[in-house]
Amino acid sequence: MRLRQFLGNVLVVKEISSIFMLTVTMLIFYILSPYFLSYFNLRTLLELFPELGIVVLGVTVLMISGEFDLSVGSVFALCPILIVKMLSAGVNLGIATTLALIVSLGIGALNALMVVKTGIPSFIITLATMMCWRGVVLAVTEGTPPSIPEEFSWLESHLTFWLGPIRISFIYFLIILIALWIILERTRLGNWMFATGGNPEAARARGISPAKVKLISFMITSLLAGFAGLVQTSRIGSALPSAGQGWELDAIAASVIGGTSLFGGAGSIIGAAIGAFLLRIIGNGLVIAGAPGYYFRMFVGIIIILAVIFDITLKKRASKARW
């Protein structure tokens, strides 16, 4: 009986299904090829992951608040390109970076305003803004990655330098993860975010302003997307106009794998981080295992379905175990 209780307590941990899936997947890849867990490859995995991870953190907070943001990929590309363009025009690096991040915040605020004022589902509004801002990116760059001026290298060194086996960007990701976890799980604002996503009418009846909560969530999402884009440009040395394409769906998938509900009001930011890591390692693991590239998308699909099934099954078992 004590085992039952223990299982009940473990199973109800929100993140259990994503932890389980991650462990199983890594095990399978390792069995298929030991190179998967080699030092070199682990280094690669940890180096590539923080950019998607940071975007996913923002998207999860927003999904918990009950909304979607499909424009994260476009903001991801736009922020670093704005900085590069400003640097080429002679603007000081500190000012350029601050302005670009403020623009990212502004895009989030704009998304929020449109969603709240018009009542049109955020999925549709941000679908439109996604294309809009991607258009701006292409127009500003004329499709060609702009050359990165010398001044940018300060960012390159401070955002992505190596610290033993990891880049500093991984630490930034962890800091953001912890900060958001605290906000979501241990502050009033977090409680209001869950409430706004779970039942906005009830929240409003208790004096909470769902509009304000959503505004904050949208702004967090866009700011993090812009920052993540900046990190990627620092790492690869190129501000690609095509950067971030498709990331909006990857982010939603990662959140769902981590236990976030598409209907809002429930989710785990740690689970989402695990989900993001899982998504990132699939492509890598499949290459190392020697699988042909055509199977990548199929595997991602399978894993998403399995993750959701596990999540639901485990939740049912957990609540039974406790009653």
């Binding site: 190179y35 998967f36 690669t44 180096e47 690869i236 690609l240 890598n284 190392i288 099954t313």
Partner: protein, 327 residues
């Protein structure tokens, strides 16, 4: 408990079943090919045939990695790192960006893994990148040649007065090195010939067939004075657009690169004047052969120009018969 175990077992079985045939365990050489060309890009299917044939001939192993989305350079870089982690015997790669791949290629070479570049080179060639050799078409020169031939040899009624030329340059991937280098070559010749800059327009068409046609139609419709369309890749844009606008074959001179089936149709129908073949088969075949020989006999790799052969109405039939694509 049972359901979960079943699902895990199923997943493991699926994974093993699919990947087992591909998981290595033999003593032959492994030469992966990492490209920027999208999975749906027909040109790269031709490279793949050459690559597969060479692997078979030399009894080597290898996989060609192409991103699901054409030109997804981040994907290419990530895949590069994963491939490198497996320590292959050699790597064949394209270099579609001036800087992005410099570090990781140097890293591979420092690790003792030879890296050959195929199809698309660093603009600064061996000065800009540590790759050991380039097998492909000289890109700037091929662009130059394209413009030169189109104007001096294929223009109806002989080489025109440069001021009467209105040129559209269709670019499938602005920013990628191969596209920029060819455009540079084209522009060099046009300027030498005396075409005023205001008569030259560069259009980003992307590499997606439907998008290409839509954009070129849009441009030609708005600029009926255009009499020359030069492409940095396959010239299906010029061909399909001219046809759908009801132009007669030859009314607009169209020329580009590569031998995808649509281009051959265009040549036969007279819309496309000629295309320059860079022999993708060789770009897939020769790097494998070269790596193999490096390993077995210790030769030093050399640059290879896989050709700038012209295919026009006179030899298009033979080319079509010999065209080999993966089924």
């Amino acid at each position: 408990m049972r359901d979960k175990t079943m699902v895990i077992l199923a997943l493991v079985v699926i994974c093993l079943g699919i990947t087992a045939p591909f998981a290595s365990g033999q003593k032959t050489y492994n030469f992966p090919f990492i490209s920027h060309g999208g999975e749906e890009n027909p040109f790269w299917s031709q490279v793949y045939v050459g690559y597969k044939d060479a692997l078979k001939r030399y009894e080597c192993e290898g996989k060609m990695y192409r991103p699901p989305r054409e030109g997804d350079l981040e994907w290419q870089l990530n895949t590069w790192k994963a491939v490198l982690a497996r320590k292959p015997d050699g790597i064949i790669t394209t270099i579609p960006d001036e800087k992005m791949f410099d570090d990781v290629i140097k890293q591979a070479i420092d690790m003792g893994i030879p890296v050959l570049c195929a199809n698309t080179d660093d603009p600064e060639h061996e000065k800009g990148n540590a790759r050991l050799a380039y097998i492909g078409q000289p890109l700037v020169e091929s662009g130059y040649m394209l413009a030169e031939l189109a104007i001096t040899k294929y223009f109806p009624g002989g080489p025109p007065d440069p001021k009467n030329l209105h040129v559209l340059i269709t670019m499938g991937a602005p920013g990628e090195t191969w596209c920029e280098m060819r455009e540079e070559g084209i522009t060099n010749f046009l300027h030498e010939y005396g075409v005023p800059e205001k008569n030259i327009y560069r259009l980003d068409t992307t590499m997606k067939a439907d998008e290409i046609q839509a954009r070129v139609v849009g441009y030609l419709g708005a600029h009926p004075e255009t009499n020359l369309v030069l492409s940095t890749q396959f010239s299906i844009g010029g061909y399909l657009a001219a046809k759908s606008l009801g132009k007669k074959p030859g009314e607009i001179t169209v020329a580009g690169f590569d031998l995808v089936p649509t281009v051959l149709d265009g040549i036969e129908e007279g819309y496309i004047a000629f295309t320059i073949n860079q022999q993708p088969y060789l770009q897939g075949y020769l790097p494998v052969a070269m790596l193999y020989l490096m390993k077995e006999t210790g030769i030093t790799p050399v640059d290879v120009n896989t050709s700038m052969a012209v295919v026009d109405k006179t030899n298009v039939k033979q080319m079509r018969e010999r065209l080999r694509v993966t089924k």
